[in-house]
Amino acid sequence: MISAPFDYHRPSSLAEALSLLARHGDDARVLAGGHSLVPAMKLRLAEPRVLVDLSRVAELRGISEKDGRIVIGAMTTHAELASSSFLAAKCPLLTETAPQIGDIQVRNKGTIGGSLAHADPAADWPPVALALDAEMEVAGPSGSRMIAAAGFFTDIMQTALRPGEVLRAIRVRPTGPSVAYVKTEQKASGFALCGVAVVVDRAANRVSVAITGIAATPFRASQVERALEGGPLTAERIGEAARVAAAGAQLLSDMHGSADYRAHLAQVNVRRAIVRASART
């Protein structure tokens, strides 16, 4: 085999998936779009003995609205998100971000749940989830629970998901049009060297800013947010606030971008994203 050998299961319900995970414990991994897991298996960076493929679990797929929240099934693909006119109207940050992920093949297979659960420090969905204050709906052996996005990404490729748990859906509040996702690509992989998600809440006079690609985990740029609190979003204030975009972050540094450059990109992209978002009314 190219990967290490594994057993393969394709349950048709969430309950079945959970029981397979319970049965195989640490040996098992769920398979979503496979666009992060399969490459890792090919390089033998991941060697799960059992794969539980969620592709036939219908209840994990699709976009709906419930109790004033938009609910996105974890198995919804990037392509489905990109082409949703419902989301374009209700939560345009999602439809703006989705087409910036990978290429057509990646978007047709890769899922939002897989991306969030994988927690790649350069992935595009995590900052979007943070900026939207998303809630992660998680199903596990002992029932369901909610995890706030703010507490979900714990370390590089680590999340608050416990063994045996499945990310079921992502819940977000509808937003107005004042949102933006601005990304600088890592030239080879197409992932974010620095990606910035912004939501401007005009009613609450508040700006949410989240950054990916520059640190071990995506994070809310709370210093930027605080600097903008209460006043008008003038070019000057935005520019000033953006200066602290990377302040305090433990910056990544590699051949694709030094820590200096990533910090600089964070400032530029934060400013551009806020300017762009606030111009959208």
């Binding site: 080879a188 051949m255 450059y261 600089h264 530029v268």
Partner: protein, 810 residues
Amino acid sequence: MADTPREPYVGRAMKRVEDPRLLQGIATYVDDLRLTGTLHAAFVRSPYAHARITRISTAAAKAAPGVVGVFVASDVNQACGIVPCAADMPNLKNPQHRALADGRVYFVGHAVAVVIARDAYTARDAALLVDVDYEPLPVVTDPEAAIKPGSPLTHPDLGTNVAFEWSMSTGDDAELERLFKSADRVIRQRMVHQRLTPVAIEPRGCVASYHRGEQSLTLWTSTQIPHLVRTLLPGMIGVPENKIRIVTPEVGGGFGSKLNVYIEEALCSHLAMRLHAPVKWIETRRENMSATIHGRDQIGDYEVAVKNDGTLLAIKSRTIADIGSYPQLLTPAVPTLTGLMLTGCYKYKAMRMDVTGVYTNKMSTDAYRGAGRPEATYLIERMADIVANELRMDPIRFRQMNSPTSSDFPFATACGLSYDSGDYHAALAKARRLARWNELLDTRARARKDGKLFGVGVSTYVEICALGPSKAMSAGGWEWGCVRIEFSGKATVITGSTPHGQGQETSFAQIAADRLGLPIEDVVVLHGDTNVSHYGRDTYGSRATVLGGTAIVMCIDKILAKTRTLAAHLLEVKPGDLTFEGGRFSANGKSLGWEDLAPAAYVAKNIPPGFEPGLEASSFFEPENFTFPFGTHIAAVEIDRETGETRIVKYVAVDDCGPQINPLLVAGQVQGGIAHSIGQVLFERTVYDEQGQLITGELMDYPLPRAHDIPEYVLGSTVTPSPSNPMGIKGVGEAGTIGATPTIANAVMDALYPLGVRHLDLPLTPEKIWRAIHLGEDDRGGARIPEADRSAPRYTTADVGEGALEVGNV
């Protein structure tokens, strides 16, 4: 048969006959071959750049179910010989590159063992069970440090890291020194030509099958050079040449990376003989990145002697070429091509180039699209801009005053070459016109006023193609062809050049159909199987159409002469009375076509006395000279001042490859070549760390240009026939890459000129540009342009004269 004369096929932009099978996924690549009983090879490769192998344990792998054998150096090296280096390089210190690492590994990816199993998966699994103990040794990665005293040694046995020293000069070094002394200025610049990874979309792979009864070997391999492999493999594995058949099925890209004989080809061949079963190996992408040759990797210190009026006098270069761990087939020859083209399009009076080839613990470098000429053109055209800047001259005017005019051809260069034909001024003028040069300068002026970084760049180029006259090649530079008119009157054209994506199945059919007066559907072009195409020198150095195409023309002319005697005999006229048109020989109102003449020649009951039956001819074409295609490219770029990102906003290429057999194929070659350059200029580089670990070992880390990186191109051409072959054609496979690299680099540098940046080495990544803009960093502390000069206008709008233009297809 058509009675009305039809428009010739040659010159038409025809779609490739190859396309339908390639686009439908029904073409056959090596990995598509399924021979009964095939065994599969997987390699165990070194994770260290330099280490002693203290122990190899193969027991666990051998015990795995489905494994047929595990072989290490002591099992196979004797039988697999030494990897050939065919470059003429006197005094080359050659560390005897054998099939498997014997006691030491010299680069990451160096093959240590090969596992043979009943299927590819088992082979790969078992390769992981081979346990190798390594004792790491000091690693050499920086070629400049490698030649300093006390450096660790790549190959301790050689006692030095210097693989060779090579010099060429115009002859009289005293004259060179006199020119340098008499110069008003000597302008120096150091440039680094970064290492690149070729990344053919189809990795390498081969299947070897030994026929025990006949004691003959068939090797299907993804190579550009089946004929050279057939010539060289016998020296490695001991099967005589006339019992070896090499077949190249479809080949998914080469760019020079498959212009080699590799250890895997010898090993699979040997093991097929030894194990009495076909042996197949398909390279993984990671192997392709680490164990298939890399390209470029030269560091040069260049010095130009110039007069204050802009007259170029002489150029000197001291170059270090990073060879990697072993010389592959042509490794040492690559920098010599840089030397041959060092003076580019210019009337330098003297040149000198000194090259030191240096071993490092990295993969070998070898010919990669352009092979030495992109390095030459890049350095000479960057120098042209640097010199013009320093003299405050318009870079276009500077180029014009220093390049030969059309009446100077054949033009003898300071490098000792004779450029066949050219009109550099016409190509330059046409490129300016297509680029709407004056408007472009206005745009730049406006952009700069708005605080934007906008630059325009020009590069002229001349390259050396149709490699080459045998006197200048190490193993024959001719090309072979064969044409047969079949019994049915249809034609089979066989070429010894080995197209692998360039489209000669189409262009050679165009040539043959016109000359034979046949519809193109009646011509089939065969290649890439040494049992069919007996001789050849294959495809590299933009040679196939010029040399292979001419060989076909020679064959057809022989057939026409022979057929004329047959037609005259059958029509009872004198051969000289016959006219040949539209595929028919006619006289006195009577005529015969191929469908009449071919059966007559094969049935052979009514043939002229002394007439050999059959209608077939073969020819070797030996060129008298190389050809020298040329052109001018122009680019305009805008740089995001904040992020350092470059966007190409305009790209114009005017290429002169002589008459174009198929303009669509020419455009395809030029477009692909420019894409390669966009990669090299803006982001590609192969990176090893200080431990010799390949950091760009997969496509997550090695950036290739993608569709959205490619701007719209404006392509034009001029047509200056070459006197060196009957069709006057020149070759175009590498032109795009050669012309575009300096063009885009010059445009970026022009954009940064107002900031005083004199030179940055490739790739011009956003971060590098950002650092230059904001932190004032130049590569290795290069001088900044003086404050006073930064606002001096580079490029003027004054009309430089369009000259008389032969307008090609725009």
